[in-house]
């Protein structure tokens, strides 16, 4: 999420700007002290819809926000707005292009001076909300007649000066829901996922939407046909049958890097806790082979690391499936569990390996939600360290509560 930028702070403190943003106007506060409205639809000289940027001066940014617009004027980047082909929108200002240097590399082509019916007796607009909506509306009105889908209300949020984000684009789900301070609790952590099978790949799917500092993926296996049926999304034939085959972690890193910018792939099986695990804040263990887990768990315990181990057992009988999904949270003081983590290989001949995608997803969801409780994101009554969901009963049982 990054630190709060000047732009974001100014918008948060100014009710008129916050209202514009909430309604979907693509606004920012430029360091040269201008409110910038991007993506304003207007009709160009040829009668087509084009998009420009509107700049409105700010007198002073203070603790109370941006205050009242100092005058009724605005600058515009784009071509001159028209009502329709050949008929300039002269009410908005003079159709004389010029280079207006507004400071800090902010440049405009037109200087507007539009007095709508909503202007106050002193010749100024009451606030930036009224000014911006009046200016946008007079241009948008004509653009809508050409293309009714043209809109300035993109809901896009992208502030000048924000620190590099974990995401390729902003998490507006958190801003819209007004839970940014709660989401911030998840920020900056480094999390490892060991095992990127069905459940592990869904853990990644959920973590990719969290502002983590780093997500580290460990799996030596290649991405093959059966994986495609237990992984989130829809893998292409080209990826499934690639020659040479793609490593699971490389495939998933590629897919999820479209959203999360800090995913690292380690295309090998880990057999002990090396530096790349030791420096992670939290580990999700999603490994099929219990025997492979034992040395990793020992290493994590020695380092006092918290981790979650997941595992399911699905039994076919009477031509139906049933079974249970286990989620075990291990942390200092909670290293033994009622629903124990299997750490030795059973005779595999007798063991089923039935996994169904929504059960992988459910097990991953239970694990990620439990991790978020650990970071104070979700509330809890009693904090459980063992949990299992049983399909036949549609029931979650919990055990090993934190007594503190």
């Amino acid at each position: 999420m990054g630190r709060t930028s000047l732009s974001r702070r100014a918008i948060d403190r100014s009710p008129d700007l916050a209202r514009l943003r909430k309604e979907g106007y693509e606004i920012q506060v430029h360091p040269a002290n201008y409110v910038v409205v991007r993506n304003v639809p207007y009709v160009n000289a040829e009668g087509g819809v084009a998009y420009g940027e509107l700049f409105v001066a700010i007198a002073k940014i203070g603790d109370a926000g941006v205050g009242r617009p100092p005058n009724h004027q605005a600058y515009f980047r784009g071509s001159f707005p028209h009502k329709r082909a050949g008929e300039p929108l002269s009410v908005i200002g003079q159709n004389q292009p010029a280079v207006h240097n507004l400071g800090d590399k902010l440049q405009a082509q037109f200087h507007f001076s539009y007095k709508s019916g909503k202007i106050d007796a002193d010749g100024r607009y009451a606030d930036y909300y009224v000014l911006v909506t009046e200016y946008v509306e007079i241009m948008w009105r004509y653009a809508r007649r050409v293309d009714e889908s043209a809109t300035p209300l993109t809901g896009r949020v992208d502030d000048y000066g924000d620190e590099p984000s974990a995401f390729a684009y902003r998490d507006t789900a958190s801003t819209r829901a007004e839970i940014v301070p709660i989401t911030a609790k998840l920020e900056g952590h480094t999390v490892a996922i060991i095992g990127l099978g069905g459940t592990g790949s869904y853990v990644l799917d959920f973590l990719a939407k969290v502002p983590l500092k780093q997500i580290r993926l460990f799996d030596g296996d290649r991405f093959s046909q059966h994986n495609a049926f237990r992984a989130p999304g829809a893998a292409s034939k080209e990826d499934v049958f690639a020659q040479p085959p793609i490593a699971k972690v490389d495939y998933l890193k590629r897919i999820y890097s479209a959203l999360h910018l800090n995913i690292t792939a380690y295309p090998y099986y880990i057999t002990s806790v090396g530096p790349e695990l030791a420096s992670a804040d939290f580990v999700f263990l999603c490994i099929d082979k219990p025997l492979a887990k034992a040395p990793i768990i020992d290493g994590l315990i020695q380092l006092d690391k918290p981790f979650i181990d997941v595992g399911m057992g699905i039994i076919a009988a009477e031509e139906t499936l049933g079974g249970s999904l286990r989620t075990t949270f291990s942390a200092p003081g909670h290293r033994t569990h009622r629903y124990a983590i299997p750490t030795a290989d059973a005779n595999d001949d007798y063991q089923t390996n039935i996994q169904i995608v929504e059960l992988n997803a459910l097990n991953a969801a239970l694990a990620v939600a439990r991790w978020k409780k650990h970071l104070g994101f979700y509330r809890f009554h009693k904090l459980e360290f063992s949990s299992k969901y049983t399909i036949e009963l549609n029931r979650v049982d919990n055990a090993d509560y934190d007594e503190t």
Binding site: D288, G311, M312, S324, P342, A344, D345, A346, R395
Partner: protein, 159 residues
């Protein structure tokens, strides 16, 4: 084998005196009807471990399944007991057992999964039991069951 009349019933109303047998044991009562539970109690059996039954004229065994069902008593009626059989489900399959309560090991055995060892550990979850009605079992624990108790036994090592 015969014993003294064992059940007081309503003494003094000899017109209701009935003498019947449970496993060849002679029981005398002064009432026309008792519940299955009362008959078993009179004969000294626990309703939790025994069921009451009789032979029909064609020799078939008729079981009084409900402990609160009334048994019409007629003179010289011959009843017998048999171990109570519980009808339960384990991983969706119908199973019967005479054991109650059931231990973790008993339930795993009924699941026909490989026996639990230090290597294989199972999650054992149940519903519709007696005490407690819902919960789970780990090694060394047991639960009191009834007809219809439902168990789920699974490993938990796949992801």
């Amino acid at each position: 084998m015969s014993t003294e009349p064992a059940y007081e019933g309503r003494p003094g109303q000899d017109e209701h005196k009935v003498a019947f047998f449970v496993n060849d044991e002679h029981i005398v009562v002064y009432t026309a009807s008792l519940t299955v539970r009362e008959v078993l109690d009179a004969a000294g059996y626990d309703v939790g471990t025994h069921e009451l039954a009789k032979r029909s004229e064609d020799g078939a065994e008729v079981v009084y399944a409900d402990p609160d069902e009334a048994v019409p008593l007629v003179d010289q009626l011959r009843l017998h007991t048999r171990p109570r059989v519980y009808h339960i489900k384990v991983n969706g399959r119908a199973r019967t057992t005479e054991t109650n309560p059931l231990t973790y090991d008993d339930v795993v055995k009924l699941s026909e999964l490989p026996p639990p060892t230090e290597i294989i550990e199972y999650l054992v979850t149940f519903s519709d039991a007696v005490k407690p009605p819902d919960g789970d079992l780990v090694e060394g624990e047991s639960v009191e069951i009834k007809d219809g108790t439902y168990f789920i036994v699974t490993p938990s090592n796949r992801s």
